[in-house]
């Protein structure tokens, strides 16, 4: 028996060791050129940021939703757009930014309403896109991985190893729109600004009245808020910009989210209604803004952020203002 078990273990070892080596050490140039790779640049931006910075986090809606330069010019404060993709899941998005939070920072969360819903756990836990992030782009994030997340991504690990090995033999150039170099120096996604939408956007369907909230989301956000406060920073939630027709169809669940956030002291900093956008401001998805949309959304956000106590404090703090001007001159 012992002999058999030893031999089985050796066989498993011979097979598993090279696969694990490939998983952790084989480079993944395709992912690094894709959306996942943008996380590396966002981490650099966050690392370089000085205390008292406005950090925008969220999914692709936030990545495509702001013109940070306008925000900086208008608020006279440093702003970073750290949002990449909603496919990473709200949990990852938040855990990812945690280590970079400094005193007096303002963390602005802007995620699609689906992140709060119980229809799918994908928006909270993440999905296959998280695998290249964990095993190539940002391996440090593995520490934050818990069992539900691992369970979700486990089926994608083996195909990912295979995809990595394939890249060694077949050069697979990344040619999609959503790529790393589609982001500008502030972290805004701008690659689509010159492109015109060719397809009609399909609004989200009307709510049936049975939609509910993901019970894990609010407690998670409450914990995060406490963490941010403990670090001497501030956390606010900005309503996401959404297609007007979809907003009207989804108003039932949007109101439910709004109320739940209010009850838990996490209220949106502005009425959700303000962030309804006509189709002409949208690109390829009900949450993806085009250049004009991003500009409008930024101006709305600026007005709303100005009402936030932390922003007022940041603006009145001479040290912060001085630092901002020095930074700009540099």
């Amino acid at each position: 028996m012992k002999k058999l078990l030893v031999k089985i273990s050796i066989l498993i070892g011979i097979v598993a060791v090279p696969l694990l080596l490939c998983l952790f050490f084989l480079p993944d140039p395709k992912s690094r050129k894709g959306l996942d790779g943008a996380l590396i640049d966002k981490h650099i931006l966050l690392e370089k940021s000085k205390p008292a910075t406005i950090i925008l986090i969220g999914g692709s809606n936030a990545g495509m939703g702001f013109k940070t330069q306008i925000m900086k010019d208008s608020l006279k404060l440093p702003v970073i757009n750290a949002a990449v993709s909603g496919w990473f899941g709200l949990k990852f998005i938040i855990n990812d930014v945690k280590t970079y939070i400094k005193k007096n920072d303002l963390i602005v969360l802007c995620v699609p309403y689906t992140s709060f819903e119980n229809t799918t756990d994908n928006d909270f836990i993440g999905n296959s896109l998280l695998v290249p992030v964990l095993f190539d782009v940002s391996p440090k994030a593995i520490i934050n991985l818990d069992y539900p997340e691992f369970k979700r991504i486990a089926p994608f690990i083996a195909p990912y190893i295979l995809a990595k090995i394939k890249q060694v033999f077949i050069k697979d150039e990344f040619d999609g729109l959503y790529r790393r170099d589609g982001f500008n120096q502030d972290g805004d996604f701008t690659a689509h600004y010159s492109l015109i939408r060719t397809l009609k956007l399909k609004p989200q369907p009307k709510c049936l009245g049975s939609e509910g909230l993901n019970s894990k989301v609010i407690p998670f956000l409450v914990n995060f808020k406490q963490y941010v406060i403990a670090k001497g920073a501030t956390f606010v939630i900005l309503p996401p910009s959404i297609q007007s027709a979809s907003f009207n169809n989804q108003v039932f669940i949007i109101n439910k989210i709004d109320s739940a956030l209010k009850v838990n002291n996490l209220a949106f900093i502005s009425p959700t209604l303000r962030y309804k956008f006509e189709d002409r401001y949208l690109y390829d998805f009900i949450y993806h803004l085009n250049s004009e949309g991003a500009e409008l959304n930024t101006r709305l956000a600026i007005t709303d952020l100005l009402k936030v106590k932390a922003v007022k404090k940041m603006k009145s703090d001479d040290t912060i203002q001085r630092q901002f001007h020095i930074h700009r001159v540099q």
Partner: protein, 480 residues
């Protein structure tokens, strides 16, 4: 729970540790574990199905007991008949009732009336044909005095539900399995290692060959517009798919049984190297062929012995009719069975049915005559499998017609990698035809070479599990 799935891997790993390491090598404990494991395995599909097999087994246990206890031969036979009727009717209910209703409706419609019978929503218990035949063979053998009934209910329940061969065979004879269940199993490294090699070989056949062949088959038969060589190509790969799928399953079943210290029925013996159709049936689904030979063909032959060769022809046609019906409730299976029966007619007329033709294992390649015989048998089987695959006789007829349509080379694209895997499988089996299975390589002394083969196979299988385009994990014969 499928053999080629993660849940089974976990289940079997735990089972193996409990069976050989954690629990003492005690007969009672081993059998209780086999029984418990078998029911967990079966109830994984549906716990309700577990109740069916449990009740079936308990009823059979008492039938066996009363058949044996009754001294009067006529009464014995009567009890047997009641038992057989019960199991055949149950099988008919689950498997054939809807077929009967729809056939009746068609007949009514044909006569100009409106059919008003509705088919029922019946869930077919997995592997019902396999365990019903196992039970029937138990009852027949007790009646014929070939077998003492099991006195231990746990042993009998374990025999019926023995998980390595429960859902897709082999149909083990009680004389083979029950005595093994009556003795405590002792771990044998040689047997267990061979079992692992056979599982690996079965996985290769299923995941690398059968699953990839399924893609070609789906393409070829998925549209009625295809014709000519595409259909022949599809038919060739269907023959390969069904063989690799079913024999792959049987290899895994044998391997798993070996790991637990059992020897179950060998179900395949390189059927595509057969010299004629009788030879083919001695090598293909051996456990079913043996069952049908013992309980259908032999009694029928005896009954028709006065008719000479005509009697043999009638017996073979009845046997293959039952074989066809055993496979499923569809006229295509009936036609498939009868076609195979018809292929025996020339052999019966020439008196060659029982002549065994085997190629000397020392022979590197077959002679020209042997090769022609092998190819002719394969082509016959391959074309008949079109009937087996078709949804209806009409659809099979369309396929046969379309094969001879013009533009024979249209849409024809050879899948080179698949062809390599298939030819490799056949070549390995050819050169290992005197061995238990394709990976029976324990006699290779060079350990590095042997291990390179193992590792290579594991990587190849993993490659297709992970990246294969066709991930049809279910086995074709599980639906029977």
């Amino acid at each position: 729970m499928l053999f080629n799935s993660i849940p089974f891997l976990l289940f079997f790993s735990i089972f193996f540790i409990l069976y050989w390491i954690l629990l003492p090598e005690n007969l009672r404990i081993q059998n209780l574990l086999i029984l418990g494991g078998s029911y967990v395995f079966y109830c994984w599909f549906s716990w309700k199905l577990g109740l069916i097999i449990l009740s079936y087994s308990i009823i059979a246990f008492y039938f066996g007991f009363y058949i044996h206890k009754t001294p009067d031969l006529k009464l014995k036979t009567r009890i047997l008949h009641i038992g057989v009727i019960f199991y055949v009717m149950s099988l008919a209910y689950f498997k054939y009732l809807n077929f009967f209703i729809s056939s009746l409706n068609s007949a009514v419609q044909f006569s100009g009336h409106t059919p008003n019978l509705h088919t029922l929503n019946i869930i077919l218990p997995l592997g019902i044909s396999f365990f019903t035949f196992r039970i029937l063979s138990y009852l027949f053998d007790i009646r014929n005095g070939k077998l003492e009934p099991a006195t231990d209910l746990v042993i009998f329940l374990s025999y019926v539900a023995f998980f390595p061969s429960l859902v897709a065979g082999p149909i083990d004879k009680p004389q083979l399995l029950i005595p093994q269940l009556q003795k405590s199993r002792v771990f044998s490294y040689v047997k267990a290692a061979d079992g692992l090699r056979q599982i690996l070989w079965g996985l290769f056949k299923k995941i690398v060959v059968a699953n990839n062949a399924a893609g070609v088959v789906d393409f070829a038969f998925g549209s009625n517009r295809l014709h000519g060589f595409v259909l022949i190509y599809g038919a060739f790969f269907y023959a390969i798919e069904i063989y690799a799928d079913f024999s792959g399953y049987s290899d895994m079943a044998l391997g798993i049984a070996k790991l637990l210290g059992f020897q179950i029925t060998v179900n395949f013996n390189n059927p595509y190297f057969s010299q004629n159709i009788a030879d083919f049936w001695r090598r293909w689904h051996i456990s079913l062929t043996s069952w049908l030979t013992e309980y259908i063909f032999t009694p029928a032959s005896i009954a028709f012995r006065d008719l000479g060769k005509a009697g043999s022809i009638m017996a073979i046609l009845i046997t293959f009719l039952v074989s066809g019906l055993w496979h499923g409730a569809n006229w295509t299976f009936v036609a498939w069975g009868l076609l195979h029966g018809c292929y025996f007619i020339p052999l019966i007329l020439m008196g060659k049915m029982n002549k065994k033709k085997s190629i000397d294992p020392a022979q590197f390649l077959p002679s020209l005559r042997e090769a022609i015989n092998m190819m002719a048998t394969f082509v016959l089987v391959m074309f008949t499998l079109i009937m087996f695959k078709a949804d209806s006789i009409k659809s099979a007829a369309n396929t046969y017609i379309n094969i001879f349509r013009i533009y024979p080379f249209s849409d024809f694209k050879v899948d080179i990698p698949l062809l390599i895997y298939t030819l490799s499988m056949l070549a390995i089996e050819w050169f290992h035809r005197d061995r238990n299975h394709g990976l029976d390589i324990a006699r290779i002394n060079n350990m590095t070479f042997r291990w390179t083969i193992y590792v290579g196979f594991v990587f190849l299988i993993l490659f297709f599990i992970v990246g294969g385009e066709h991930k049809n994990n279910a086995f074709i014969y599980m639906k029977f």
